[in-house]
Amino acid sequence: MTAQRAPAGPILDVRDLSISFGGLKAVDGVSFNAERNRITTIIGPNGAGKSTLFNLISGALAPRRGRVLLEGRDTTGAAPHRLQAAGLARSFQITTLFFALSVAENLRLGAQTLEPAARLWLPVGSSVRARRRVDELLERFRLTDKADYPAGKLSHGEQRRLEIAVALAGAPRVLLLDEPTQGMSHGDTAETAELIRGLASDVTILLIEHDIGLVMTLSDHVIVMHQGRKIAEGMPEAVRADPAVQAAYFGHV
């Protein structure tokens, strides 16, 4: 089963995913596919259920109905650590780092799964592959000169970059980014967009993003959510022109 090659077709296949909180249908029958090494962006007004959808896919919440297939394997309701092993990682909308630990240590923790499990019991210094991964990420995310800083001492923009880097450290094949540019300055946002674009060459990215300009330039495919449901999907330009989408954002449906 595990030795089998990843099947062709969508790397992530979400079918009829649903969950309610009390009477509220937070995510209601959402289905979509994410194609390998593309950026699929989920947009929608506040409260549309985007983050809840991420929580369902990333194992933070178990769905009441529906299925999630990762590379053809059913991962519905799997715990986050199992999903990480299966190749799916995520970042958080609210920065969720190890603030007391150094930037390098945050990344090293994320990269440890690249090492054989036996290395867990050997001195940290012997995890060479993890260390190399850390250096590579520090460079890529322009944090090299902040490597020894406690993560809590970084600027907001740097913390948001580290948030992505930590999720990426374990070399996932699918990466969920929940509003990676949240609260960033314009300059930082543009730089981060560039970074994300660069990642897509070897990782499939699922993105939640509010900045419409960014969505248009970054996305290969856009999914629009409103009140827990998927109301449209397609190429960025086509989605923007969709009357239902315009109604969801500017009027009522």
Binding site: L97, G110, Q112, P123, D135
Partner: protein
């Protein structure tokens, strides 16, 4: 590349080496003067230092406040006493204590790790209280009197043997075992496993997304701590010749927490220094007044407010800075 946490760990090694040196001096002076009292007191400080060490693994590294670590310490003391009375063998007693430590840790950890935060503290407190009351009311365990008549041991190391009746020999044995336990813990806490415990303390929510199950990590931490507490406890009847239910009481657990705070939480070696410090204070102040608990309480408050990193917070930064400078490539 300098790794702050590894440097901190190495600073601890230097302080442990210093403790070893001080211990050897104490043993030498004690032996030369034929002292019994202070060597016994120092041995006791080390044994309770082991209990504090186990509390620090939970509190200082994993972020779990145990108010019932005396449960595992007392378990070690009782199984050791029983094994010693039955077999007079040091190695049997330590072997039984090791098994009891791991098993007790698995059971205790399984129960206590169902909950977090304040509830973890309460449940560890509860487990220890229940066990203490059970022991207190069990006649075959000596009930409120405890177990007396633990024999004097000839501890055989193959090419030499030493007697538990010799204060110097037993002090050196306690010093060796406690430092061994310290180095074991310090080694493990500077592996990726140990770093994951630190990550649990720093931000438990993120850890599963790194690919690790937090329940397993917390259990691992608990078993490690419980084993160290149990092995330390196993030395107690060899020193005192008896065990009593007080070893399981809250005062024992609470003292261990105070020791860790005084010494510096999250430093490991601070637990050993803290225990020596606390023992010295108790014995010095105790010779002036019987109200030494007031002094210890005040000291505890002062440390919490003005020295949040305890005694090690005063000493360690200097050593760390030196190591960081020397260790740069």
């Amino acid at each position: 590349m300098r790794d702050e946490l590894t440097i901190k760990s190495h600073a601890g090694y230097w302080l442990a080496a210093l403790l070893l040196l001080a211990g050897l001096v104490v043993a030498g002076v004690g032996f030369a003067t034929g002292d019994v009292f202070y060597l016994r007191l120092a041995s006791e400080a080390l044994i309770f230092g082991g209990l504090a060490l186990s509390v620090d693994i939970l509190l200082g590294y994993t972020g779990l406040l145990s108010l019932g670590q005396a449960l595992h310490f007392g378990l070690g003391a009782y199984v050791s006493a029983l094994a010693l009375i039955a077999t007079q063998s040091f190695w049997t007693a330590m072997g039984v204590a090791l098994a009891a430590g791991v098993l007790g840790g698995l059971v205790g950890g399984f129960i206590a790790n169902r909950v977090r935060g304040v509830y973890f503290a309460l449940i560890t407190f509860g487990m220890a209280q229940v066990s203490a009351k059970v022991v207190y009311n069990t006649r075959s365990l000596g009930a409120s009197d405890g177990l007396i008549g633990v024999p004097v041991l000839d501890i055989n190391f193959g090419f030499f043997s030493l007697s538990s009746a010799s204060p110097t020999a037993f002090f050196l044995l306690a010093l060796a075992i406690l430092l061994l336990l310290y180095f074991l813990a310090a080694y493990l806490l500077d592996t990726p496993f140990g770093r994951l415990l630190i990550a649990v303390k720093a931000n438990e929510r993120r850890v599963p997304f790194l690919g690790y199950r937090t329940a397993t990590l917390r259990l691992g931490s608990y078993v490690l701590a419980a084993t160290i507490a149990t092995l330390s406890g196993a030395l107690y009847p060899m020193l005192r010749g008896f065990v009593s239910p007080e070893l399981l009481f809250f005062s024992t657990s609470g003292n261990a927490v105070i020791t860790v705070i005084l010494g510096g939480a999250g430093t490991l070696v601070g637990a050993l220094y803290g225990s020596v410090l606390l023992t010295v204070i108790k014995s010095v102040v105790g010779s002036w007044t019987e109200h030494h608990l007031i002094v210890i309480g005040l000291l505890f408050m002062v440390v919490v407010i003005f020295l949040p990193n305890g005694l090690m917070g005063l000493i360690q930064p200097g050593i760390r800075a030196r190591l960081a400078r020397g260790g740069r490539r």
